[in-house]
């Protein structure tokens, strides 16, 4: 009977537990209105600007540091506006010399690295220093590639040992407030790159004072300064030295037609940053994030886990919440500024470029067959809630160069056509090559792989000839890709700036691995046209070339594309905030948490 006593004991314990857990801690308190609690689905490892490659890091560095420019809060598609800079740059006739003037009297946040702990004025030399640091091998920069070979003398400076006392011809401070940049060749996207966290204006004192731990002790002139940081949570507090900045709907590009439902009107005339404190929670587990959001007293802003969308949302595209949730939350689908690919490794003679023209032709037909059988709409339905934007080619809608004639229907699969391609190339179950499918080892990747293999089976590809070769981490996978060891590569690319050049360079031959051209596509026509386009200022002529380049990608299939994901974000009703995507940073200063009871 001891058994029953034990059971009794357990139930007793359970009920005691239950009793004590009836009341949620702090549930009787009014919501704390002085703090905005934001959440992300990943954590930055460091806040060193030169390593801020992830969106998590970029969001932090753009809040703590000043860049020369930033994106308007509300304008879509993205538009630049001056931040530390006085105005847009003066560009010489030949497009090679840029002059940037910065605001006067901007102070760094107070920090022990400065004399007497008082933040000093930001000068043009700080910007020069920060750019040099991007090219300093000791800093382990992840962003240097953006300017590689572009600024006169900068690459040579690095090769000669990165000596900060040596001058650089193309990177100079004419006086304390004027920066002059001379380019090797025109680079119309230059100003965009100065809105990225990479180009944050960093004081040399801080880098030298904190040494290795500089990444955890950022010192900038942005609206916030870092109070504390862990891999779970960062606390940002107002930088008392921050300049006078007043919010204006008009200047931020407010569009009443699409943005009226978010309460943004409340922000008009407010001094930035609006909230004294912003807490950023890093929550990798989507369920944790959702629970925390739902408690009401914890985070204000989060995402809807894919598993729960059917429970939370009435409609997915556009996102409409069920009544129970609509009372508490505002939500929107945020399109990704980027695309998802299946790269086909063109340096692999089984499927890519081949010296034998006949084999080259057959490989092209094989690639076309794979592309024709690829069912993007099904991929979107099963893995992205059916809300992803579908389009042929590599340029996502909304960017210069996207062909308005494209429709999502063009990404529907056509198995008959695929089979015809295979037949035309003389491919059959016996002579089709074995194609490794590569990616990181996750349940979802495996499911996507099985889906892909299923499509291939439909066009007669033997199951065994598409093996799954996963990698434990993204680092491992990336290494194999950079060493050209992968065949079918499922990857995504987030844009660094809203210009199609950033996705078109993914297929430029000289950018082959270990560069960003993971498909190692190397086509002379493409390369030549691309080289022509990169030095051109925006205009109809460049748009035409972009369209042609995009068409080459579609016809030659170095990658099966494309799709742009949508992520459902959700936040409390008493919060005014509009989420945005990398590279759009510096969002926290606009967030507002208000008292709903004041509204009656």
């Amino acid at each position: 009977m001891m058994l029953f006593r034990t059971i009794n004991l357990v139930t007793c314990l359970a009920s005691v537990l239950l009793l004590t857990t009836c009341k949620r801690p702090f549930s009787d308190r009014a919501q704390d209105l002085s703090v905005f609690r934001f959440s992300e689905n990943g954590a930055p490892v460091t806040m060193d600007p030169v390593q801020s490659a992830t969106q998590y890091a970029n969001l932090m560095t753009t809040s703590i540091y000043d860049q020369l420019y930033e994106y308007k809060y509300l304008a879509r598609p993205y538009e630049l506006k001056p931040r530390l800079a006085e105005a847009m740059p003066e560009v010489s006739e030949d497009g090679l010399t840029y002059t940037y003037r910065i605001k006067k009297g901007i102070l760094y946040a107070d920090n022990e690295c400065f004399p007497a702990g008082k933040g000093r004025e930001v000068t043009a030399n700080d910007f020069i220093y920060s750019m040099r640091r991007l090219f300093d091998p000791k800093a382990r920069s992840q962003g240097a590639w953006l300017w590689q070979g572009k600024i006169k003398g900068l690459d040579e400076w690095k090769e000669e040992g990165a000596d900060y006392s040596k001058p650089i011809e193309g990177l100079r401070a004419l006086d304390d407030y004027t920066i002059q940049i001379i380019l090797n060749k025109p680079f119309p996207q230059l100003t965009y790159t100065f809105a990225m966290g990479f180009s944050s204006v960093t004081p040399r004192e801080a880098v030298e004072h904190y040494g290795k731990e500089f990444g955890l002790n950022p010192v900038g002139s942005g609206p916030y300064k870092l109070k504390s940081f862990s891999t779970k949570k960062a606390i940002l507090v107002r930088n008392e030295n921050y300049r006078e900045e007043i919010f204006s709907l008009e200047e931020e590009g407010y569009d009443p037609k699409t943005q009226s439902g978010f309460g943004l009107e409340r922000l008009e005339g407010k001094k930035l940053p609006i909230m004294d404190t912003t807490e950023v929670y890093f929550m990798e587990e989507s369920m944790t994030r959702w629970n925390s959001l739902n408690k009401g007293t914890e985070i204000h802003f989060g995402g809807i886990p894919t598993e729960l969308t059917h429970m939370v949302a009435e409609e997915l595209n556009p996102l409409v919440l069920k009544a129970k949730y609509a009372e508490k939350f505002t939500a929107m689908n945020l399109p990704d500024l980027g695309t998802v690919y299946l790269y086909l490794n063109m340096s692999d003679p089984k499927i890519g470029h081949h010296s034998d023209p006949e084999q080259n032709r057959r490989n092209l037909l094989l690639r076309k067959a794979i592309s024709a059988a690829y069912d993007w709409p099904q991929r979107s339905r099963r893995f992205y809630n059916g809300t992803a934007a579908l389009f042929p080619g590599t340029i996502p809608p909304g960017l210069d160069g996207y062909d308005e004639a494209f429709t999502p229907e063009m990404t529907e699969p056509d198995y008959e056509k695929a089979k015809a391609y295979l037949k035309e190339g003389g491919w059959n179950a016996d002579n089709l090559p074995v194609l490794d499918y590569n990616g990181t080892a996750s349940v979802q990747n495996k499911q996507m792989y099985e889906q892909f293999r299923g499509w291939m089976e439909k066009i007669g590809y033997p199951r065994k000839k598409i093996p799954y070769v996963p990698f434990a981490t993204f680092g491992d996978f990336n290494k194999a890709v950079k060493q050209r060891n992968c065949t079918l590569i499922g990857m995504a690319w987030g844009l660094d700036y809203p210009d199609a050049e950033n996705v078109l360079q993914l297929f430029y031959g000289p950018n082959g691995s270990p560069g960003s051209n993971s498909s190692n596509f190397n086509d002379p026509t493409y390369n030549e046209m691309f080289e022509k386009s990169v030095v051109m200022q925006p205009g109809p002529e460049r748009t035409e070339i972009y369209k042609k380049l995009n068409q080459i990608i579609i016809d030659d299939v170095p990658a099966v594309c494309g799709i742009s994901r949508n992520t459902p974000f959700i936040w409390h009703k008493n919060v005014v905030f509009l989420p945005s995507r990398n590279p759009h940073g510096s969002l926290f200063k606009y967030a507002l948490v208000f008292d709903e009871s004041d509204d009656q």
């Binding site: 059917h310 349940v443 299923g454 799954y468 070769v469 434990a472």
Partner: protein
């Protein structure tokens, strides 16, 4: 257990055990279930059943129907066929690991036991001491990663399990051999001048067979269960389907309210493991010399 029993009457021990095993009704039932699983595994291996496990369906997450007994998964694939494929994978993992690990453990254990109190024994004890001191999952993860990029990569999980599972067999066999080697007939063989390795091979190891048999059933079950966890951690079965992959998928399925993967995989897994455990128990009882005499 008398000395004659070991030196002369091996057959009688075996036939006695067989009779005992046959009298154990639960044991026999368990054996039949395991046999049925084995049969399915062979049929799947030959490609006779469960072949449509990779075919995509029109819509994902289909319910149970006469066509799909356990419904379909996110890709519209038939969960029942996948569970059947899982049997094949489980037997493959189980057999490879159980046979190799017990063989290695048996041989090293016999050697260590025979050369008790010599450097050989010390080295082998040291070896399994080291293995035991490293947390299992971390060890497996490490083995799996160190094999990345080599031809052995798909076998990373098997190798890691073998490298850890042999130690318990080794320990038990070593203990038994230490007992055996003091017996007269071994001493006699030694006196006649039979070489030590021959003694180990011909006289010592055959007397540990009952331990190896039981140990291999335990290793078999251990391997199947570890596979599930390792696959969940992303270290297990790479290609094909296993119950581990199905359970990993089910972790997000159940939050959406779809239980097909979970029920399919765990049902098959539970029945096999409990049968195997019961079978192992029955085997142990039947082979236990202490019980033979009682």
């Amino acid at each position: 257990m008398s000395e004659e029993n070991i030196s002369t009457g091996r057959d009688s021990l075996w036939s006695k055990s067989r009779r005992k095993l046959m009298r154990d009704r639960a044991g026999v039932a368990a054996m039949i279930v395991v046999g049925a699983y084995g049969l399915i595994a062979i049929l799947v291996y030959l490609g006779l059943i469960g072949e449509n496990w990779s075919t995509l369906g029109e819509e994902g997450f289909g319910g149970m129907s006469s066509e799909h007994w356990f419904g379909t998964n996110i890709n519209g694939q038939d969960i029942f066929s996948r569970a059947i494929q899982g049997i094949k994978t489980a037997f493959e993992v189980g057999l490879v690991v159980a046979v190799t690990a017990t063989a290695i453990g048996g041989i090293l254990g016999a050697i260590a036991g025979y050369f008790h109190r010599t450097i050989v024994d010390e080295v082998i004890m040291w070896l399994y001491g080291c293995i035991d001191a490293i947390p299992f999952y971390l060890f497996v993860a490490a083995v799996a990663f160190s094999l990345k990029g080599t031809d052995l990569q798909p076998w990373g999980m098997h190798i890691a399990m073998i490298a850890t599972f042999w130690s318990s067999t080794c320990r038990i066999v070593r203990g038994e051999v230490i007992k055996i080697r003091g017996l007269e007939y071994i001493q006699a063989a030694k006196a006649v001048g039979v070489g030590p390795l021959t003694i180990v091979r011909r006289h010592v190891m055959p007397n540990t067979t009952h331990i190896l048999l039981v140990q291999s059933t335990i290793a078999f079950v251990g391997a199947i269960k570890s596979e599930v966890i390792l696959t969940f951690l992303g270290l297990g079965v790479v290609d094909g389907v296993s119950w581990g992959t199905m359970l990993s998928e089910s972790t997000s399925d159940v939050l959406r309210g779809h239980f097909g993967n979970f029920l399919g995989a765990s049902g098959f897994l539970f029945v096999l493991v409990i049968s195997f455990n019961m079978f192992a128990d029955a085997l142990q009882d039947a082979l236990d010399p202490k019980k033979v005499s009682s």
